[in-house]
Symmetry: C2
Subunit: 199 residues, 2 copies
DNA sequence: CTTATTAATGACCTATTGTTCAATAAGAAA
DNA sequence: TTTCTTATTGAACAATAGGTCATTAATAAG
């Protein structure tokens, strides 16, 4: 097998295996799962830690769509519609067992990855959403009654965002039964969230 | 030192250490952290797994207040006030780094503890909240416009509850900056949540 | 002070686990 | 086929880690 394919195969297997069983699983077990010898893994990744780093890289990479901010700020479209479109796209990108579990493990292990992701990416989105709500034309169905104080602004939007993220945690980490129809969920909570903001 | 105190000391140290570094840390490290020999730990806990089980027991025990349902269903008090009181008490009980982290680790490790906790305790609360919202007198400020379909009922209340739980995950697992004033947070989101339900 | 009891330990055992490396298999090129 | 290259492995090493046990230290009773 070509080195590129083999490396990819090992990396993919490691992502799934680490997501399921944690980073402490033995290289031996991972190898036997793939059907190769443990030694071969060390041909492609210097050490176990290097493999873990590669898993982090692969999983955190491309978990972000450049057009999300564009979708949210396109004021030619009504705000509810924008939020629903955004969260549908967001769900499609992040509703992934391996991603959710590894991001959570990263935080528990005190890795900087998830904290950086939250700081760099998620908080950007939250600010945009807060801005768009505030910018809604007064008198429109979803203009805010009164936006909370600056310190509460982002926490206010977390109310919406938390629901989506924790839905994924319930699904992929707690493995509890959740509503299957995600479009319905998104419509429900965006509607709920915005109606509380009406004048 | 008396056996009871020693056992308690080991257990408490294990809770903190496992919460921080995961269940894979060495007994040696835990022992040196406590300042005792590794062998002593095995005098009080048969095996490492027995210690882990004891940690689970200790952490999941008494994470539930019997009077919560009573608080939520006392219709002599306005619903917003009931929800605010409940979530203040809930926060006081669950806003604990060790608890949040170990409950999350339990789920990732496929332990039944957290799933059972969600099924037995949390979902009970969510049903009660849904019932109370629906029972709000028509025309009151927070009577529901229209309660969603039966399948969406609980998911609807998750919108409120998720925000509280994910706030704690952000704080204790992601260790991201969060709003310090929890009373303010609770007031904000309960208010937000109920106002969306008004007629 | 002596002795009995037991909390506590240090040294050791064994299995596990990351990692290495000489040897082998497989496949392409000549 | 022969040769060259390289993907792959089996076996082993060294450090790690759970667990045991004979011995020691501490404490309280007589």
């Amino acid at each position: 097998m070509s080195p590129e394919m083999r490396r990819e195969m090992i990396l993919e297997a490691a992502i799934g295996y680490f997501a399921d069983h944690g980073f402490e699983v033995q290289i031996r077990q991972l190898a036997s799962k793939i059907g190769i010898s443990p030694a071969l893994i060390f041909k492609y990744f210097e050490t176990k830690d290097a493999l873990i780093d590669a898993v982090y890289e692969a999983v955190f990479e491309s978990r972000w769509q450049e057009d999300w901010v564009g979708t949210l700020t396109d004021r030619s479209i009504p705000l509810p519609e924008r939020l629903i479109r955004f969260y549908r796209s967001y769900m499609a990108t992040v509703d992934d067992r391996n991603w959710i579990r590894i991001a959570m493990r990263a935080s528990l292990d005190n890795s900087v990855m998830t904290r950086r992701y939250l700081a760099d990416h998620v908080s950007k989105i939250l600010v945009v959403i807060a801005d768009e709500i505030e910018a809604a034309p007064p008198g429109s169905a979803f203009a805010p009654r009164s936006m909370p104080s600056p310190e509460l602004r982002i926490e206010y939007v977390w109310h919406l965002h938390s629901t989506v993220i924790y839905y994924l945690i319930r699904k992929h980490i707690h493995q509890a039964p959740v509503l299957h129809d995600q479009d319905e969920l998104i419509t429900l909570i965006v509607d709920q969230f915005l109606h509380a903001s009406r004048p």
